[in-house]
């Protein structure tokens, strides 16, 4: 029931409230960004880190965008959060809706399965990049991390599989570290 509702919200927002940009322009921009990073850092690990950092900075801003557009309220639990990330977040910004799978027993970790990742279009990684562990779309991890952190959830997000590295699907793993409590002003009792 709830899942359906979020799906509807996502569809609705995608249809009515979003200004679209040309997908190819977007993909190429991202592609040239990654390539430039690879040239600048000459180390794929550092590139991953940098992409994550960029994503984080995007995420902390995007979260307000999506909340303002859709009027979603606070999620009751982490399951709902997962639903919203997949059905609303990815839908509104990338027009995809990854599946949620592989919940851990304590319900603190889940995976987002991306069957189709628009960032990957037209991209083939050179063997060296695969060997040294470049996660091409690592920016997504940062975005999720940044967005959830603004909602008082500290998370770790990382890629497990990527189609570009020869896996069947792309999989992003999201792990809830802890819920940050809102800071209370100290004193005056």
């Amino acid at each position: 029931m709830a899942a359906k509702q979020y799906k509807a919200i996502g569809e609705e927002a995608w249809k009515n409230n979003v200004e679209k940009v040309n997908a190819e322009l977007f993909i190429f921009t991202y592609g040239s960004l990654v390539v430039q990073l690879v040239k600048d850092f000459e180390d794929y690990g550092a590139v991953n880190k940098q992409l994550d950092k960029m994503g984080y900075n995007i995420g902390v801003r995007l979260i307000d965008d999506i909340l303002a557009r859709t009027g979603i309220d606070k999620c009751a639990d982490f399951h709902t959060t997962a639903e919203v990330v997949a059905k609303v977040g990815f839908r509104v910004f990338l027009n995809i809706a990854p599946a949620i799978a592989n919940w851990s027993a304590d319900a603190k970790e889940f995976s987002l399965i991306l069957e189709d990742n628009p960032l990957n279009d037209f991209c083939e990684l050179p063997p060296k990049a695969v060997q040294e562990g470049l996660w091409y779309s690592n920016v997504l991890c940062g975005v999720i991390r940044g967005a959830l952190e603004m909602m008082q959830m500290q998370t770790e997000v990382w890629f497990v599989h990527d189609v570009l590295r020869g896996d069947d699907v792309s999989e992003i793993r999201v792990k809830l570290v802890k819920i940050l409590d809102e800071e209370v002003p100290v004193g005056d009792e």
Binding site: D65, L67, P185
Partner: protein, 184 residues
């Protein structure tokens, strides 16, 4: 004939205005004053025509409403925000509302009423608060504040040079905000 007429006029002028020192002096002063008044009036007319539509008196109506909003300086705004945040949090902690046996965590203060006006507050899930002061007739302002949230996300957050949690100094944001407020 004409020459005689001119002559009689000039001699009349001479006799009445210039012959005696006292009338001469009065004439000079009076004509000086008259000229300066005439010059000022004419120049003002010319200036009014030239700058029509751009002077304060012409655009006052556009801003009169804003000045009624009681603009706060940045410092006052920060103080207000700081103080309000404190009582907001406090209010959400002392909520006596319960659901079953569990106490419900409250979302904090939404309006504050005084005798003459009302302060509205809308808090986003990320903890940003939008506040507005209105008269008492305005009961439900949250939809406007939600629109403000949209503006904030569009014109503040999407500006790459805007730093989070800093005062927003953006002309676009300000002008849109004024637009929005005017529609209320």
């Amino acid at each position: 004939m004409v020459g005689g007429f001119t002559k009689s006029i000039s001699s009349f002028t001479y006799r009445t205005f210039f012959k005696k020192e006292s009338t001469y002096f009065t004439t000079v002063v009076a004509s000086g004053v008259a000229f300066s008044i005439a010059f000022n009036t004419m120049f003002e007319k010319y200036w009014d025509n030239k700058t029509a539509g751009t002077k304060w008196i012409d655009i006052k109506d556009r801003y009169a409403k804003d000045s009624k909003l009681g603009q706060l300086s940045s410092n006052e705004a920060l103080t207000l925000a700081g103080t309000f945040h404190g009582i907001h949090v406090l209010a959400s902690r002392i909520s006596p509302a319960t659901k079953g046996s569990q106490s419900v965590k409250d979302s904090g203060i939404q309006t504050i009423d005084t005798k003459n006006f009302r302060i509205h507050c809308y808090q986003t899930p990320t903890g940003i608060k939008f506040m507005a002061a209105t008269d008492l007739l305005e009961t439900k302002l949250s939809d406007v504040l939600v629109k403000m949230y949209g503006l904030y996300s569009d014109y503040a957050l999407k500006n790459p040079f805007y730093n989070l949690e800093m005062p927003i100094r953006s002309e676009m944001f300000d002008s849109r905000l004024v637009q929005l407020v005017k529609t209320v």
